[in-house]
């Protein structure tokens, strides 16, 4: 095992050396960095040329410059020496600073999108595999192919037009006409009926309930101008919480496990009490506090499950912890909604909250809620675009993997033992289907930080992709190299992790030592 890892790392290092040499030469050979000065008629033309030659060391041939750069980059390997030197970009800024800034921007953009795409994609994949060849399956498959074929820049422009400009116009006067409300209701009714499955009568019933519910909610929202002053309130949180408790228990322990259901419901009750107690504390919120509160919510859930005891403590603890985390999320969502009117009327936002470019409103001031709402409204469109594009792959892959597992003999054995369908799907099939997915997830996370060049350029986010593109356009090798090294190292490390994870998760696969 250790020899395997060491050998992989050594090969990776050699590949990295070769590839980085090529990248450096290619960037340097791609054009003339002095071109903009050669044609200029500025009186200090020669001076400018000299300054840039000095800055980029253009008097040294490119292969030698690479080794100079390598010498600086090698210092990054010395731990705690803080003498990392990746050169400077064309504006004279050290690359290490620029990289740090760009990395934060890219990660805030891509992390949420990837996590959501993985969650939604896996869920859709499993549901379609369980309902193979149903209308739902065909619909989702078609959508997956469609999203897979969409150019991201096209989606991005459409989202800007309808998601930002259109939605902002709607928010100015948030009235949903009766016909629109009924149409949206009918649409969600049809989707629910298709997704529900089972006998036709049950489908129609579910679809009808969904139609009535969505239409009524939209008409109510329109009448009370909910979109201007959104909020959940304790009643909605209580109802939604009970729903969550039932859903979580159904999935994690089964409704027959009364102890688990009771623990989840108690967690909802505790959450409701906390809702009233915690409001003054939430006004002073910081990011760290939110993280701590989330951890606390999970711990409270675990404690409830533990105290309930019963024959299977673990299941109760799991169900209650999940429920209390989700209820905590609802409470946080409610607090965000309370902050919405003041964000909406902020002098910098001026009633057009959904932004089309950048990562934050310039010079905006406010508390934690206002600031995070601000980055949320900036992130929502690029995140949506990225989710749409990457959803298809996860859905198809999970579906294929799940179908393969569901045809295995041990699934038949599990059914023959008389296990419930929930146990068969969640315990036996789902966990094994996750093994191949874990490797592509690791693979994708490795590609995360270099992944969104076009999205960044459409939405003007100054992340890694922007740095890279800018370096190429100015024929400036240092930023290109900086981005390349970061992306290549993470990609290789995560490739290795993917391989090791596969052999750790699936004992049938052994790495060659």
């Amino acid at each position: 095992m250790v020899t395997y890892i060491v050998r992989r790392l050594i090969t990776a290092a050699l590949i990295l050396l070769g590839a980085s040499f090529l990248v450096y030469l290619l960037t340097a050979a791609s054009g003339d960095p002095l071109e903009e000065y050669r044609a200029s008629s500025a009186p200090n033309k020669q001076q400018l040329i000299d300054a840039r030659t000095e800055l980029l060391q253009l008097d040294i041939p490119a292969p030698l410059r690479y080794f100079k750069w390598l010498g600086g980059a090698a210092q990054c390997l010395i731990p705690f020496a803080n003498s990392c030197d990746l050169g400077k970009n064309i504006a004279g800024q050290p690359i290490t600073d620029a990289l740090g800034h760009a990395l934060i921007q890219t990660l805030t953009l891509v992390t949420g999108a990837t996590i959501l795409a993985i969650l939604i994609g896996i869920t859709l994949g499993i549901v379609t595999a369980l309902r193979q060849y149903s209308t739902l399956d065909y619909g989702v498959t078609f959508m997956a192919f469609l999203f897979f074929s969409l150019p991201i820049f096209w989606v991005a422009v459409l989202l800007k037009e309808f998601g930002a400009i259109g939605f902002n116009d709607f928010l100015r006067n948030p009235e949903v006409p009766m016909a629109t409300a009924l149409a949206i209701g009918a649409l969600s009714g049809v989707i629910t009926a298709v997704a529900a499955g089972g006998a036709m009568k049950r489908r129609l019933l579910t679809g009808g309930v969904a139609f009535l519910f969505v239409s009524a909610v939209l008409i109510y929202f329109s009448a009370t101008e909910w979109f201007k002053n959104p909020g959940l309130g304790p009643v909605v949180i209580a109802i939604a919480g009970v729903g969550i408790a039932f859903a979580v228990t159904l999935l994690s322990a089964g409704l027959k496990n009364r102890k688990a259901l009771q623990s989840s419901l108690i967690a909802v009750g505790v959450g409701l009490v906390v809702y009233f107690v915690i409001q003054p504390l939430l006004d002073e919120a910081t990011f760290l506090m939110m993280v701590l509160l989330a951890v606390a919510a999970v711990l409270v859930g675990l404690a409830i499950g533990f105290l309930m005891g019963g024959y299977d403590r673990g299941q109760s603890m799991r169900a209650a912890a999940l429920t209390s985390f989700l209820v905590g999320f609802l409470i946080m969502l409610d607090r965000y909604m309370q902050a919405w009117p003041s964000y909406f009327n902020n002098s910098r936002v001026r009633g057009r909250p959904i932004a089309t470019i950048g990562a934050s409103t310039p010079n905006i001031e406010g508390d934690f809620w206002i600031l995070s709402l601000d980055s949320f409204t900036h992130l929502i469109l690029p995140t949506l675009a990225l989710i749409l594009i990457s959803l298809a792959g996860y859905t198809r892959f999970t579906r294929a993997s799940m179908l393969e597992i569901m045809n295995m003999d041990y699934i038949r054995t599990a059914r023959a033992k008389g296990l419930s369908e929930r146990t068969v799907v969640m315990r036996h099939a789902f966990r094994n289907a996750l093994i191949p997915i874990a490797t592509i997830v690791a693979f994708d996370i490795g590609g995360l930080i270099g992944g969104a060049v076009i999205t960044e350029s459409v939405f003007s986010v100054r992340g890694m992709g922007f740095l890279f593109l800018d370096g190429i356009q100015h024929i400036d090798p240092n930023p290109v190299m900086g981005v390349f090294i970061c992306v290549a190292i993470t990609a290789m490390v995560f490739n290795l992790i993917a391989d090791l994870a596969y052999s750790a998760l699936d004992p049938r696969v052994r790495v060659k030592a």
Partner: protein, 355 residues
């Protein structure tokens, strides 16, 4: 396959009869399955229509087409350039897809762009397929040093970002003054150059897959048999192993091609692909995205064609994958649902025993 033919043979409801039992050849089975895949057939028809429209309307390689405008012609704006095509009543009109700001016909430009995208796609498919097969076959069959060198080369190419290579190539091609053979070739055949270039970098995934196929196939008995009867390495590779790997190859070439269309449009969008005065679907979107509020059709039609081409290729690829996969049993849900009312036969075996 022989034993399973008895189990889920023609009698099993909802599962198509095993075609091998009828004495059909591999090619016939694949063709039958492909023709039975409705998504793939629809994809094929849509792609054929787009292909014929794109290449006959504005002409190709100097041959004039049936459409009266070319993508460079400027004509006076009619009705401020709005599309004249309509479905009710069916009408085609002077400028079916509308005109841009200076009066160029969008139908001609879109057709030209579709032509470019399809050309690039085919060139990429050919080059990537060829190099991928050769590299994959050599490294998978010979192993040892050949494999080590070729696979490390693949690793290096995978890790270098395509965007950088495209930018470098665009810069080199843009240097008309330097008068190198490359610059003159690229300025005369812009799309071909991009296609060849993208083909030269997108073979890596294929090579890895083919290597995997060859690694497993070379251990099979029929390869040993061929070697013992004195077949040369070349004969074993091309006559014995390659035909068995051709399914994986075709499917993945199709998928590479559909990905390549998106890559080309993305590169053109970023300004390092096809350049004005020539046009491509990605370039059209990039040029017209600012005009979305005033002339949305300039944005809709090129995007629609990208999506249609890519979608039809993806469906064709999906159909091919199903057709080539011997494990796949096409399952007719309707037939199964009709019969599933009778709960008596629990498994296929029970039902057969009853007869």
């Amino acid at each position: 396959m022989a034993e399973s033919a008895g189990v889920d043979g023609p009698d099993v409801v909802g599962i198509e009869p095993v075609l091998e039992a009828k004495g059909l050849s591999q090619g016939q089975i694949v063709r039958k399955r492909f023709l039975g895949h409705s998504g793939a057939i629809i994809g094929l028809v849509v792609f054929a229509i787009i292909f014929i429209m794109a290449f006959t309307s504005v002409g190709y390689a100097g041959i004039p087409g049936w459409w009266k405008y070319s993508h460079e012609d400027v004509s006076p704006l009619i009705n401020d350039g709005a599309p004249t095509a309509s479905i009710f009543p069916p009408a085609w009109g002077e400028h079916p897809f509308g005109q841009d700001r200076i009066g160029r016909d969008l139908f001609a430009m879109t057709m030209r762009g579709a032509q470019q995208s399809i050309t690039i796609m085919i060139v990429i498919g050919l080059i990537a397929g060829l190099i991928g097969v050769i590299v994959g076959a050599l490294s998978g069959y010979f192993r040892g040093w050949t494999e080590a060198v070729l696979m490390r080369l693949t690793d290096v190419i995978i890790i270098i970002p395509a965007l950088l290579l495209a930018a470098v190539m665009a810069q080199l091609a843009g240097r008309r003054d330097s008068g190198s053979w490359f610059a003159s070739f690229a300025s005369n055949n812009g799309v071909l150059a991009i296609g060849i270039f993208l083909g030269l970098i997108s073979w890596v995934g294929l090579a890895r897959l083919m290597r995997g196929e060859f690694l497993s196939l070379r251990e099979r008995e029929f390869v040993d048999a061929a070697r013992i009867s004195g077949a040369s390495n070349a004969r074993i590779i091309f006559k014995h192993i390659l035909p068995n790997a051709v399914g994986v190859l075709i499917v993945n070439v199709t998928l590479t091609m559909s990905a390549a269309i998106l890559t080309e449009t993305a590169l053109s969008y970023l300004g390092v692909g096809v350049k004005a005065p020539d046009t491509s679907l990605g370039l059209l979107i990039s040029q017209n995205q600012a005009a979305f509020a005033t002339r949305p059709w300039l944005f809709w039609f090129p995007g629609l064609f990208i999506v249609l081409i890519c979608l039809s290729i993806n469906f064709i690829g999906d159909g091919l994958r199903d057709a080539f996969d011997p494990r796949q049993k096409k399952f007719n849900a309707k037939k199964a649902a009709e019969i599933e009312v009778d709960p008596a036969p629990v498994t296929a075996f029970d039902e057969l025993k009853g007869k």
